[in-house]
Every structure is written in C-alpha cells, then in structure tokens.
Symmetry: C2
Subunit: 548 residues, 2 copies
C-alpha cells in the first residue's frame, strides 16, 4: 500500500461533495447554513471561528450551536476572541470539546465554569500573534468561519474597514486544503475592493442581519478624571519628550485617551508638535481626532476599525491606510507586528506585583490578554535605532552587565494606584497564581513580564524600572509610586528617597509639573460631542455614546 500524501486534499473534495449532495453550491442561503455545517464538518475537526476584537462571524457561530451533536461533535475551536454566548453554547452541547484562544472578555466567568465542569479543555491562552502563528504550524484549521461586508457572485470578499484577522485566518485555512466559509452582510454585483480573492473561499452565506460588531475602542472624554490628566502630563513631559517618542502604540482606556486629548493643548504648549507621536499603531480611537486635526498624529496603522469613524477615516487618507476604494483596510497581524517594532507601548493593567509583572487576569474568570503582551514586550529582533530606543538601552541596568551595547523599547504601565471599588493595583501576589492553581495552568497568566517593563506611571509619579540594578531596588521603585496601597505604604522611605535623588523615581514637581494645572480644561475635547465637532461632523458616534 502506498502512503497518501494528499489526504487533506481528498478530505476537502469529500467535504465539498457532501455539500453538493445537499444541493448546496458556493452561494448558500442563510436557511441552509446549518445543513452546510453538518455537511462539511466532521467530528474532531479543528475549526477557526473569526471572533476578532470587534467583528464576529456571529451568524455562523449561532448556526454551529444548532447542528446535531450526533453528527458534529468534539470540535477543536481556535478563535482569537470569544465574545458571544453562542461561542460557549457549542461546548455546553458537546459540539466542541477543545479550545485554543486569546481573549474571552465578558464570557470569562462562564468559561471558567465550563472548564471546571470539564466541558472545555483549554489548550492554551495565547497572544494574538502567537495564535495566528500556530495557524501555520500545529493549529491549522480544517474549516474556518469568517465575516465580511460583501461578496460578489464569484465569492470575492470585501471586508470593509474591519479587515482585522480575516487575512490570517483565510490564508492559514485555504492554503492547507481547508474550507473557508464566509458570512457576508450582502451580495453585490461588484465588491468595492477585493480583500480576499474568490478562489480562497469555499462558501458564502448571506447573513440575515449584519455581522456583530462592537465599538470597543470608544472612550467618552466626559469620563476622564483630573488624576488621569495629571498622569498624562507626566507621560508627555517625563517620557515622550526626553525619549523623543515619535512612533508608538497606545493601549485602550481612559488613561491613554487622556494623553491623546492633551496633545493639542499641553504637548503643543511644550513645543512638542512634530517631535512626538507622529506615527501610531492603534485602532482609530475617536479620542485621537483632535491630535490628528491639530497635525500631531500623522500616520496610523490600525488593527481594526471603530464604529462611527468610517467617514472620518475615509476623509483622512493621508493618516490612515485606505484602499483604492477609499475605505480603510485594517490588518491585525501587520498592526501588531508594526507595534512590536515602534519605540514605546503604553497601556494599563489591573494588577502589578513587586517585580513589575502585570496581569489582567482576576479570580473566577479566564480573560486572556489579546495584544498587550506582543506590543508590550521588548522587541529583540529589532536592529534599527532611534533616539529613545538608544537612550533607554544605555540607561538599562541590564546593559551595564554586558559589554555589548544595545537599544531598548519603552514599555510603560500607566495605572492609578487604586482601580474600581478601591481595589489596589499594586499587590504582593498576583491573582494569576491562584488562577494557575484553580485551572491547572502551566504558568501563572502574566500579561507583561516585569523585566520587559521600563516604566510605571501612577498619580504619585514615574518609576524608571529599567534603571534599577537589583530586584530589591526595583521593588522599592514600585512601592515608591504605589501611593496609599498596602504595597505603597510598606515602602522603605529612605530607599525611595535615594531612588528619587537618582531620578529613578520622579514626582510631578521633579518634572516641573504643577498638579493644580492638571484640570479637565487641558482636554482638547471634553465630550463625545466635542469630538464630533473637531471632526467637522465626520465622526458619527454610535447611539449609546450620544447624550445630546
């Protein structure tokens, strides 16, 4: 008997034949979607479900939850984001058994329960680039669900601005004899542009309603506090200016939104226009509008889009990556990659320990991290220099231990010392340790490791962690900005003062920042309505953000 080297191709032919035997062609009516899934899926298949940060193949997921578990069962789901109830329903019903993912968000509590009940076997919690990478190694899907705006009769797909993960999912599947099924909002005569060529797509299903999409990157300036304004001032004057940070990634939150909103006011008053924040790799957060309009931010590559920003993006083609059709093409792989090689990442977290390890994992919930661990890690494959990268490298204690000079990316954690419900951000022990135990994980789920973090910024000041020579010194630097948390109160005051004299800890006054000037007046926009005004009416916020 000769070995077959093309079993995948044979299986694909069988799957396509099974669909044809059901009378299904490439264009499958919505009401036949369940039949399609029962025809092409076989037990134990690896199924990639497009669940991005924002866009979801929700109709196909809902159909999957309705297939007959006697026919389709034991699936291994690979999915970057689980956001919707049906993503977990398939595990309740036994249709799926195993899961590799990145982020679960609101489904984290239910997921934890299903894991404990033995209904979900978790392979691992990944970062985005890590999971996409495995599509090309050991987690290649046999079937993938993706979501697009429109398709033509041939099956060419137009994703609209929320291209997101689609190119990675489709390439990993279509080029290994997998079946790509696209749910589309509409079938059109001619797609505005081809994001995925028809030849890569096996089936197109017009969805009864447009795919689910969530405006998760919109922050209302009305909710930004004066403490956040103060922290933003410290970031601009204490980090962006001296390190000449001109290419960077912002995490999503009110803390970073505050930075964006004082670029046209505070940063401009410091003469920093054209010197900082020219290039960003980030989603099109509406709070960036004033900084774009003021000419601060000149180029943005986006991982995804944001609801309401579509027209604004189209009319600012010098800033965004728009196609010949005029609309944006986002791409999470390229944005994450690009963000990995810029000069600074700044983001928030829920807990930081005494080594500077941070985690957003909290008890009774399996959340995951998404993009922060990629953006927020030292880019060791980087070789090109920039002023801030060289400066941070020279300052690093690690580089004093080696004869070989090198640069270093700035990785900044921007947190208030207390978060919601007066939970301290700084802790002796991360909840991640308990999670490791409860869910039998190989390692505690750490978002960003302490030795990658160069700075922590709180309302109390900046800690330049990369300059600390020992873990003991680092601990005091962390305690020294941890305010009235138990971790902060347990500081060694002499050690903290010594660090301050060395400039490893900086208070607002050390940066010549008067906290009394840290008012909401510095915000270039104080409300969503202000953002709309800045945009000249091009930004069209979703209803939930309209209070006028």
């Amino acid at each position: 008997m000769t070995k077959s080297w093309n079993r995948g191709a044979e299986q694909k032919r069988q799957r396509l034949a099974a669909a044809r035997a059901q009378g299904l062609d490439k264009l499958v009516p919505a009401e036949r979607a369940i039949d399609l899934l029962e025809a092409v899926l076989t037990p134990g298949d690896r199924l990639c479900v497009e669940g991005n940060n924002q866009k979801h193949a929700d109709f196909l997921s809902a159909c999957l939850a309705q297939v007959d578990p006697a026919r389709v069962n034991g699936l291994h789901i690979v999915q970057s984001n689980l956001a919707l109830p049906q993503h977990l329903d398939v595990f309740e019903r036994g249709i799926a058994a195993k899961l590799d993912f990145c982020y679960s968000g609101e489904q984290g509590v239910r997921m934890a329960r299903l894991i404990n009940e033995g209904r979900i076997e978790v392979g691992a919690i990944h970062t985005y680039l890590e999971l996409y990478s495995r599509y090309f190694v050991d987690l290649t899907p046999q079937v993938a669900f993706v979501a697009a705006q429109s398709a033509d009769a041939e099956g060419n797909l137009y994703t609209g601005p929320n291209t997101e993960d689609t190119p990675a999912v489709v390439e990993g599947t279509a080029f290994k004899n997998g079946i790509v099924i696209a749910q589309v909002n509409e079938i059109v005569e001619r797609v505005p542009r081809v994001d995925v060529p028809a030849g890569w797509v096996s089936f197109v299903v017009p969805s009864p309603k447009p795919h689910y999409i969530e405006p998760i990157f919109t922050r209302d300036p009305a909710q930004i506090s004066e403490i956040q304004v103060l922290m933003a001032m410290m970031v601009i004057k204490g980090l962006y200016a001296p390190y000449e940070i001109n290419r960077l990634n912002h995490g999503i939150g009110f803390d970073t939104a505050a930075i964006e909103l004082i670029l046209p006011t505070y940063a401009a008053s410091l003469g920093l226009k054209d010197k900082i924040c020219s290039y960003m790799t980030v989603n099109p957060c509406p709070t960036l509008i004033p900084a774009i309009e003021a000419g601060f931010v000149k180029g943005i590559h986006c991982a995804g889009s944001e609801l309401g920003m579509e027209r604004y993006i189209e009319e600012r083609s010098d800033v965004f990556f728009n196609g010949p059709d005029g609309t944006m093409r986002s791409n999470r792989v390229f944005c994450q990659l690009a963000g990995h090689y810029v000069d600074l990442f700044i983001g928030s977290t829920l807990q930081i320990d005494l080594e500077g390890n941070s985690s957003t994992a909290t008890l009774n919930r399996i959340a995951g991290f998404g993009g922060a661990p990629n953006f927020g890690s030292e880019s060791r494959g980087r070789r090109h220099a920039s002023p801030g990268w060289l400066k941070a490298g020279e300052e690093s204690a690690a580089s004093r231990m080696s004869a070989m000079p090198r640069g270093r990316k700035l990785v900044v954690q921007l947190v208030e010392t207390f978060r919601e419900k007066m939970q301290p951000t700084f802790v002796e022990r991360l909840d991640a340790w308990q999670l490791q135990e409860d869910f039998d994980l190989d390692l505690p789920p750490v978002m960003i490791y302490g030795d990658d973090v160069t700075h922590i910024v709180t309302e109390e000041g900046i800690a330049h962690l990369h300059r600390c020579n020992t873990l003991a010194e680092r601990e005091q630097a962390i305690r020294g900005v941890a305010g009235y948390t138990p971790v902060g109160l347990a500081r060694d005051p002499l050690a903290v003062e010594a660090l301050r004299r060395q400039g490893i800890i900086q208070r607002p006054e050390d940066l010549d920042i008067d906290p009394r000037l840290a008012t909401r007046d510095l915000l270039a926009a104080k409300s969503i309505k202000d953002l709309v005004r800045w945009s000249g009416g091009l930004y069209d916020p979703p209803n939930r953000f309209r209070n006028w």
Copy 2:
C-alpha cells in the same frame, strides 16, 4: 486655506495621469518600462523594490538604473535583499540616495565602498519583520516594484510558489495611495490563483525574461563532513530528544542539513519518530526530502520556495501550504512569525564572542542578517507551553532570579570551532565592533544577542549557556566548547571541568555518543542524486547541482 488631508491620493492621481499622458495603460509593454518609471516616480520618493531572499523584480530594477537622473533622483530605497549589481547602480548614478535594507550578501563589499564614498546613506540594517513593520509606520513606500509569475488582463497576480514578501510589500503600498508596479513572466487568460487582487496593482509589465530567482537553500549532501554528522548526532540526542523539540526552525547550511539527513537513520534508531521535528517553519530545503518521506517531518510552512522543489511540493500537499490550484503559497511574514513562536531555532554564524553574541558581519562588507535575529530571539510574547519550552525556562539562570516562572525558547548556535580558511569562530572581540566604527553605526551589528542563546554546539560538545549563573561562568562554558581556537585554549580547565560535572558542558561521551559512529553512512542521502531518488523523481535539481 484649508488643510488637505488627502495629498497622497492627489499625488497618486497625478502619477497615474502622468503615465496616461505617456500613453501608458495598466498593461505596460516592456520597452516602455523606463517611460513608466520616469512618469510615476518623483525625486525623493520612497521606493520599495522587491528583492526577496530568492525572487527579484530584476527587470524593473534594471530599468530603474536607466532612468534619467535629471528627472528621477534622490530616491529612498527600501528593500529587504540587495542581490544584483543594478540594485547598487542606482546609487552610483544618483538616482537613489538613501537605503533601508535587511541583507546584501554578495553586494556587501561594493555597498561598503559606496557608503564610504557618500553615495549611499544607510538608514538602518533591519531584520525582515522589522523592515516589513516599518512599511506600515514610517517607511511606507510611494511606489513599489514586485515580481510575479503571471497576471491576467485585469492585473490579478499569481506569484507561483515564491510568494515571499509580495503580500507585505503590496499591502503597505496599495493601502497608502502608493503605486504598485508588477513585473510578470507572462500574461495569461486566467491566473491559476489570485495572490494579489487586480485592484491593488497599478501597472503590470511583462518582463522580457522570467524574473531572477536563486536556489539559495540547496545544499549538496556530498559536501557534508563527518564532523557535521557528529554535531548533528549531539543536537538530536542532546537537545531535540530531552527537550522534545517537535516544532522548530532550521537555519540554512550544511550543519543543519546534516541534522535533516540523519533523522530517518540516527533519530529513527533512537525511537524519536513522531516525537521530534514534526512541524517546521523553513524553506523547502531539498535535504528535508528523506525526513519527509520517512514520515518524520509532517508539516512545513515556507518563507519562500526553492528551485527544483516545485513538483515535489505539489505532490506533498499534506506537508506544505498549497493553494486550491495545487502550487504552494509561501509567505515570509507568516513564516518568520510562526518561526518566532516555535520551540527551537538552530543556525550557524561566523563569529561568537565570550558572552555568546554572534554576528555574520565581517570586515569591509555590509552584509546584514535577514531572518536569524527574528527566529533566533526569545519570543517574549509567547504564552502557550510545550515541554521543551517549560524545561528550558525552569533551567534558566534568569528564572532563578525571579519569583515568576516562565518558559523559554531554545536558541542554538551550531558551529565548528574553525570555519573556512582556519578562521576561528570564537573570538574575544567581534568584527562587528570595527564595522560599527568604520561605518558610523549606532551599535555593533550583532545577529543574535548572547542572552537569547541557550546552547552552543561544536564538535567538542554542547554548552548549555542558559544554565550559567554569571557572565564569567558563561564565558568558561563557551571556552569549554571552543576547541583549539585561541578562545578555547585560554579556558580555565578546572572551571570547565566543574561545568561538565554540572552537565552545563556535555561531551559526546557524556551523551553516550561514540564519535566513531559519526560517519557519512548515517546520511539518508549522500548526494543530490540520492535526494532525487528519495523524492521518487519529483525533485528536479537545477543543473548546477547535477553532476551525473
């Protein structure tokens, strides 16, 4: 005056209009290519020239070298690989002035001269992922040259198996109002598959002859020495087996080819089939054929293709990433990314210093590194576990210094103690320091930093560098496998013996390997002809490799 937000789009319209004014439509005859370039390029443009590891837009490059420097000058070239004389001719003629690149190979000596003459201003020498990333940040091209196998009348491109960098180059250009010009080997009625949609391409130029392509990944087994066989045995028994390395990346060279060729013999005799080397991220090196045929290697994602391997790849669709048309689609971005998240990278280098820093940069030549710094760096954004990753993490001295456990990628340098012309591989001081001085670089051009290297393997043994507690210990571990080089002779024999007792240094006998068995008889193929035989005649080596 109102600010324009769409200047890029306006410039693109002007460029297209200038071409039309020359009577040029989308399909441009070869003899009009120079006219096209003079029409669409303006002085100072950032021009991305597709020069991959293998495939080159050579016709367009040759045309560029012939444009009128009075009309087109001062270009800023961004190009991953410079391989051909015309890539530098444009600098001699003043058509281009600035360069950002990854690798120059054979042009390295001439490039060094042009830099010294002030004809090339080098921005930086990058790694691949780093340069592609900058296409989406601050090095976005206004014009790009790419190479494809065929195009249809509309301009849809089929790259053939050498897709390589094309998707990254095109996306970075087409979605920022850039002009994409494709040279193609032929115009066809219908492309076998669409690799780049027509809407992303501005002009198609049928090239008078097929694009340049180089079989740089072929190593003739006849040239593999018994020392290389011995080293390969140590790698398999001393690293792949105990760390259960099942997903990995091999560098290109006779050293790693030796490993590939003793998988079906030596590794099989150790009972390692299905336990090691199942998934690889690597080019389709012909020396992998026996391991594939023996069922060792089950899946390979490729950065590019290799001349002569086309039919073999097509007939092994379970192993490679082939499209619905049957031919492979390679993709350097995804391959490099995937390689970043596997469990081991192993490759060679020209020089290693006492900290374990390595470089392929040698005097009077600007070479660059290509992919090794990405593959060969610790993947700090990784969160999923595997046995070898956990084991290496536990063993690392670095992790003993932290309370937080973590995993670690294995990064192995596989070198003979002396290279060509009896140059010692181990040196007190890398040539990179001299290069930094000669070419006024910000940092010495290091390929892989010592603290990312876990192991060095030479004919003398294995040094488990990650287990060393201090730089002094690491130095002795390196000296302890540096053989009769001056670095090796200067070892502290007592320290080296102590490291051996701890298992930080292992000799062949410590691994129960009898060097007398390290003969060429272990090679599953001893010649190119043997590889052809293993492939059942599917591998069709280029003439230069045929000596029968």
